[in-house]
């Protein structure tokens, strides 16, 4: 294993200072019905109420804040069709910097419009013929852009870790912390924050059944690639763990659990009907895992990272219909 730069709790605290007054301090919600169903005390850290509707703003803003004035003058670049695109676009707008977002030609118009709404430039590419990493690399060289990666970077990880830092400050220690795993950035930041502050915290990663690359990688002791996952949890449809994130998560994560798309749908419905909140599929996996009852945690105090709420009413109804 290569040596990689891992952020510390102090890096997460420094990120929290940068984010103060920029990111929302999102609420921790509870539900008597959920506690009864699970037989435990469940605390939801609701990043669906974060700016741009997801935790991704934390990492992106932290990473952009660490760039030099010269780098900011040249602008930044990201490739994403999801929440990271909006996160970079808004962060750039707040820092007075130009952002260029590479988005696939078949990305939903609503997502493209959201990015354009933050005055970012959008470059479309054909996801079947173009290599987006190479494309971003070319732009970086030709135009001097700084590339803002979606998860595999210490500043991104430190930024994402602020969600769990805040949660533990507001809610106190928990026995178990459930965190969705896509590229592993949110978990890496969360695990550093939680296990530094409360070493006894059991960090449990939640993945869609179709995309259990972390589960397989932990079992193999090395990063394993799975076929591009077909799941409604689009934010978690990642084929392989990040390099830096895996080095961190391999040490700090106690275990993983997977959920099916139907279990995710049931959790979205529960969160809508009983808690009156809108959660996107990727954000609902933690609650989905609890509602399955496959992970009995009687009497425990459980933190759940609800990572985002970017599902339109139309898509929500199509998914649940």
């Amino acid at each position: 294993m290569e040596a990689v730069a891992k952020p510390s709790l102090d890096d997460i605290r420094a990120a929290a200072e940068r984010l103060a007054g920029k990111a929302h301090r999102t609420p921790v919600l509870t539900s008597r019905t959920l506690d009864e169903r699970v037989g435990a005390q469940v605390l939801l850290k609701c990043e669906n109420f974060q700016r741009i509707g997801a935790f991704k703003f934390r990492g992106a803003y932290n990473a952009l804040s660490r760039l030099s004035a010269e780098q900011l003058t040249h602008g930044v670049c990201a490739y994403s069709s999801g929440n990271h695109a909006q996160a970079v676009a808004l962060s750039a707008a707040l820092l007075g910097c130009k952002a260029t977002i590479l988005m696939p030609e078949d990305a939903p118009e609503s997502k493209v419009e959201a990015v354009l709404g933050y005055d970012a430039q959008v470059i479309r590419f054909d996801r079947y013929t173009a290599d987006r990493t190479a494309l971003a690399g070319e732009l970086a060289v030709q135009r001097g852009f700084s590339i803002i990666p979606p998860y595999d970077h210490p500043d991104i990880i430190a930024g994402q870790g602020t969600a769990t830092l805040e949660f533990l400050e507001d809610a106190g220690a928990v026995d178990v912390m459930l965190v969705p795993m896509g590229g592993g950035g949110l978990m890496a930041g969360s695990a550093i924050a939680a296990t530094s502050l409360y070493p006894g915290t059991a960090m449990i990663g939640v993945e869609p059944e179709a995309g259990n690359d972390h589960q397989q990688s932990f079992a193999a002791g090395e990063r394993v690639s799975v076929p591009v996952p077909h799941t409604i949890a689009d934010g978690l449809a990642v084929s392989t763990p990040g390099e830096i994130t895996f080095a961190i998560n391999q040490k700090l994560v106690a275990g993983t659990i997977t959920v099916t798309d139907d279990e995710i749908r049931a959790a979205m419905r529960f969160l809508f009907d009983r808690m009156k909140i809108v959660v996107e599929p990727s954000g609902a996996v933690g609650v989905a895992a609890l509602l399955t009852g496959r992970m009995p945690l009687p009497g425990k105090r459980i933190g759940v990272l609800v990572s985002g709420g970017n599902v339109s009413a139309d898509r929500f109804c199509a998914l649940l219909g």
Copy 2:
């Protein structure tokens, strides 16, 4: 006009003390997008996060708390197919008192189950042949039940007023306060709280276009009845203002505005897509009024009472489909 017992700000404060630790102190949410769309600063008091999913818990619990030990021993009775039914059932359960709820035979099973879930007894009646008021009166006489009315009672009004008292404590003074009007209980309590604390507050009632009984009654200077309104805002489908509530609102309400069902749908969609919260049709009328742009309030500070979130995912999708 008869003399009626009107609650004072002190009565609302006393209700707030009774509710402390029982009702949730619901959050005040804001949205940059909403502010931009409206051209004003908008603050939403989110009673969709209240216990039983609506403000109705406040009035019911306050009214039940004012009963004597003997009255509580005999039990309480309410007629409602909506949020008031759950509010009385839960309040009774918390106070160790028996509740009997009269519900129409065609009330949705989900609502009946919610009431049964609080260990209340449900008596079904045929809404086309039975007089629910007479039926409740008979039960009150035969079994010694105390009837808990849905809005036209000083203790109910004082309880509902705690929502606006809390809002003003948390958010400070506003220029305008938008409040849904069904029977007028929420508005009466809100208007007493707001105009006592900040006499300059303009209280604006919001009604469905099909059920503008308050608008017509204010114009006529007396309580007017309209045909049973056909609107998706079922909580506001009331034909005539309450007697006590009208006596209060006639003096304290600055004006009314009506919204169509399509405008309510658009507001529900906005609240879902942009604010990630679930709001029932009756609860969305204030935001609907603002989004129409028919009530230009440039630069004003506007409070909106979002009264409830009891719309199931299935009904939400059917309404928006």
